[in-house]
């Protein structure tokens, strides 16, 4: 059984290059497979096709790939920790926090004097990260004072409402041009991914993803609840802090690159559990990461090709793929 799980995971890993190549070929500018390989081999030139691949499709595809992987892992970790299959970074207010801080950066020039322009991508990164960490710190603090997970989840939800309401007020007060920049960000799209954003975000996401695999073992023990986990030797404190830290790092990286991307965090862990037929996080984390990448890259391709040249928000596509998939799985088998 466990060898089956390994096989499925290896196969999924094996098709990743194909998924990425497919994503690079697809789009409104025709690039054949031969051209693509040549463009990648030669490196960036001033040629139109080369610029499309190197400046637009490659960063956004890599961003979507890493972003999907990160959201899936963050989703799994938070679901196990909160013992709730509905938990994802959004429910905990991490994205709401990011949105608020990004709004403050875009609208208020709230850059702490570090950055010169509010449109500076690194200012957005700092804003997004600060917002996510703010939400995480709040959630962790609440989870220290109470062990009631409903309270913790409700707190995240309420924080989201609060953050969005402040964001709404800020939006209302600013000029239309900045408002459009923000709304674009809020739609969620990997279209704006630039290398300058991608590199720091990738480092954070890759590091957090790799470190998350080390959390698989304590997360498995946490399936039995905190008391049992502790009795088996889990250092709950260290686990909780690293788990929240990693997931907020990953969620803020994605939010920075693409704005809020919904549904991957909930749907992918669920689908992975159904496919692997296990709750063993040592298998689930790598598999979900790969499944998340595949789905997110595919959704990104669909988002930019379905009614090309107009782009759809990626969250709309992920939900459109995810909802029927989950309903089908629910009908096929009983229980979660």
């Amino acid at each position: 059984m466990s060898s089956n799980r390994l096989t499925v995971t290896i196969v999924l890993a094996g098709i990743q290059p194909l998924v990425i190549i497919w994503a690079l070929v697809m789009g409104s500018v025709d690039v054949t497979l031969g051209q693509l390989l040549e463009i990648l081999r030669v490196g960036p030139t001033g040629d139109i096709a080369s610029r499309v691949v190197w400046e637009i499709r490659l960063p956004r595809t890599l961003g979507a790939w890493l972003g999907g992987c990160s959201l899936a892992i963050a989703g799994i970790m938070l679901q196990v920790y909160f013992r709730n299959p509905l938990a994802d970074p959004y429910i905990l207010g991490i994205s709401a926090g990011s949105s608020l801080m990004v709004a403050l950066v875009i609208f208020g020039g709230f850059t702490l004097g570090i950055m010169t322009s509010p449109y500076d991508p690194y200012a957005l990164f700092m804003g997004s990260l600060a917002g996510a960490l703010m939400a995480s710190v709040l959630i962790v603090s609440i989870s220290i004072v109470t062990n009631r997970h409903t309270v913790i989840l409700l707190a995240g939800l309420l924080f989201s409402y609060l953050a969005y309401s402040i964001t709404t007020i800020v939006q209302y007060l600013v000029d239309i041009e900045r408002f459009r920049a923000y709304v674009f960000w809020m739609f969620g799209s990997f279209g704006g991914v630039k290398w300058s954003l991608l590199i720091p975000a990738s480092i954070a996401m890759i590091a957090a993803s790799l470190l998350s695999i080390a959390l698989a073992k304590p997360l498995n023990a946490l399936l039995m609840g905190e008391d049992y986990a502790r009795s088996m030797g889990v250092n709950i404190r260290v686990t909780r802090i690293s788990l929240i830290l990693f997931s907020s790092l990953m969620a803020s990286s994605v939010t920075l690159l693409a704005g809020p991307v919904g549904f991957i965090g909930i749907a992918v862990p669920y689908v992975s559990r159904s496919i692997l037929r296990t709750s063993d996080n040592r298998y689930l984390i790598p598999f979900s990461a790969l499944a998340g990448s595949t789905i997110t890259v595919s959704a990104d391709v669909l988002a930019r090709t379905v009614i090309s040249p107009v782009e759809l928000p990626i969250s709309a596509i992920t939900a459109m793929i995810g909802v029927p998939l989950i309903i089908a799985l629910l009908l096929k088998e009983r229980g979660i």
Binding site: K217, L223, D227, Y228, S231, M232, R273, T278, S279, D280
Partner: protein, 408 residues
């Protein structure tokens, strides 16, 4: 090192609430200590503190002579195993995967099991009788099987001490006893010490080596259940009243008769030799006012009757029924509406009971004959009782109609 688990002046509780103070105790290797106490007395708090889940507010806990708070979580896990009440759901995990998690403190960062790990897991499943459930999904097991699997998991940690917080609460009586017996066997054969809180006092008194009684902020350790029982501990602890009583000889809790209902009958039961026990319980449950006799005070019927709060006409052990006792038996019988005869084994010392039956017939009492060895005796008894009840009521009515003024 003979003492596995020890505490000195332990204060347990939460940051702003000290629940227990000055807890000093020692549990020897292979001993099974049962923790008793009313709800909210602090049993769980004590057990969690001993298990290292709660930080002591004061004092020290030693496991094998090593201070618990100085140990890293994995080091504690190699010494202390835990079993809780929780009804767990572990979706898509097999029983064996759950037990394997007990190897947590021994495995590397990816929790890969070594040959020895696998061996220990199998051994623990064998010991708890769960090996044949290995490949079954944990969620599909019964509550009893789940607790046994969780126990196997705790054992897989190869602990010196098992700490169990009401492990049998959700279980049916049979599984309750099975888990307790399993626990007893483990402590005896593996030399593991166990400290378990139980709700079921009667079961606790039957399996415990020692009793730890938690109440009003502190604990008392009794060297044996009997010591606790004869000190009147059960009554003190649970505050028995006119509805509940505890019988020290049979170690059982009884629901006392306390009917004030005029509609019910006064019943005199002629019993003995254990033929009366079930009849008393049935009649008391129905709400009838029961008295019984003539019993010797070493008879099991006597114990049960006393536990139920029934009036008993009794004689000293192994002595023939004296004329005075017989007279008070007749008097009690005359006060009853109905007489039930349970066909007790009669010998020389209680032969007068058959005399009592004859007396009942001659004085016109309704006598219901019960043979508890017959299959449907209880249905027969209850039917006879309801017939008797209507006829007694009719008699009351006839008596009243002689005085018409009272009827209208």
């Amino acid at each position: 090192m003979d003492t596995s688990l020890e505490s000195k002046d332990l204060a347990a509780g939460y940051a702003n609430l000290k629940v227990l103070d000055k807890v000093t105790l020692g549990i020897k290797r292979g001993e099974l200590v049962v923790v008793l106490g009313p709800n909210a007395a602090g049993k769980s708090t004590l057990l969690k503190t001993l298990a290292g889940l709660l930080w002591p507010l004061g004092g020290v806990v030693y496991i094998d002579g090593i201070e618990l708070t100085g140990l890293r979580p994995t080091e504690i896990a190699k010494r202390v195993g835990l079993l809780l009440t929780d009804r767990l759901r572990m979706s898509r995990m097999t029983a064996m995967e759950v037990v394997s998690m007990g190897r947590y403190p021994y495995t590397g960062p990816l929790a890969r099991l070594s040959e020895r790990d696998r061996l220990v897991v199998r051994e623990c499943m064998m010991l708890t009788g769960t090996l044949e459930l290995s490949e079954r999904p944990f969620d599909e097991l019964s509550d009893g099987q789940k607790q046994k699997v969780m126990l196997a998991r705790a054992l897989a940690q190869e602990p010196r001490v098992l700490i169990l917080d009401e492990p049998t609460t959700h279980l049916d009586p049979r599984n309750r006893v099975e888990v307790c017996l399993l626990l007893k066997r483990i402590t005896e054969t593996k030399g593991i010490s166990a400290i378990a809180s139980l709700h079921d006092v009667e079961l606790a008194l039957r399996i415990a080596d020692k009793l730890l009684v938690v109440s009003s902020g502190s604990v008392a350790l009794y060297e044996s259940p009997e010591e606790f029982v004869y000190a009147g501990g059960v009554g003190d602890l649970y505050g028995f009243n006119r509805y509940l009583s505890f019988d020290e000889r049979t170690m059982t809790i009884e629901v006392r008769a306390n009917s004030q209902d005029d509609d019910k009958l006064a019943v005199f039961v002629i019993a003995g030799g254990g033929t009366g026990a079930l009849v008393y319980r049935a009649l008391v449950r129905q709400g009838h006012r029961v008295s019984t006799g003539i019993l010797h005070s070493n008879d099991v019927d006597y114990s049960v009757a006393r536990g139920l709060g029934i009036e008993v006409i009794s004689e000293k052990p192994f002595e023939e029924i004296k004329p005075e006792t017989f007279a008070s038996g007749k008097e009690a019988l005359m006060n009853a509406d109905v007489v039930v005869y349970t066909n007790p084994p009669l010998g020389t010392i209680n032969a007068l009971n058959s005399e009592l039956v004859r007396f009942a017939h001659s004085s016109g009492k309704t006598v219901i004959n019960v043979d508890v060895n017959r299959k449907f005796w209880i249905q027969e008894l209850l039917r006879s009782m309801s017939e008797a009840s209507t006829s007694v009521k009719r008699n009351h009515l006839i008596r009243r109609s002689l005085y018409p003024g009272l009827v209208y």
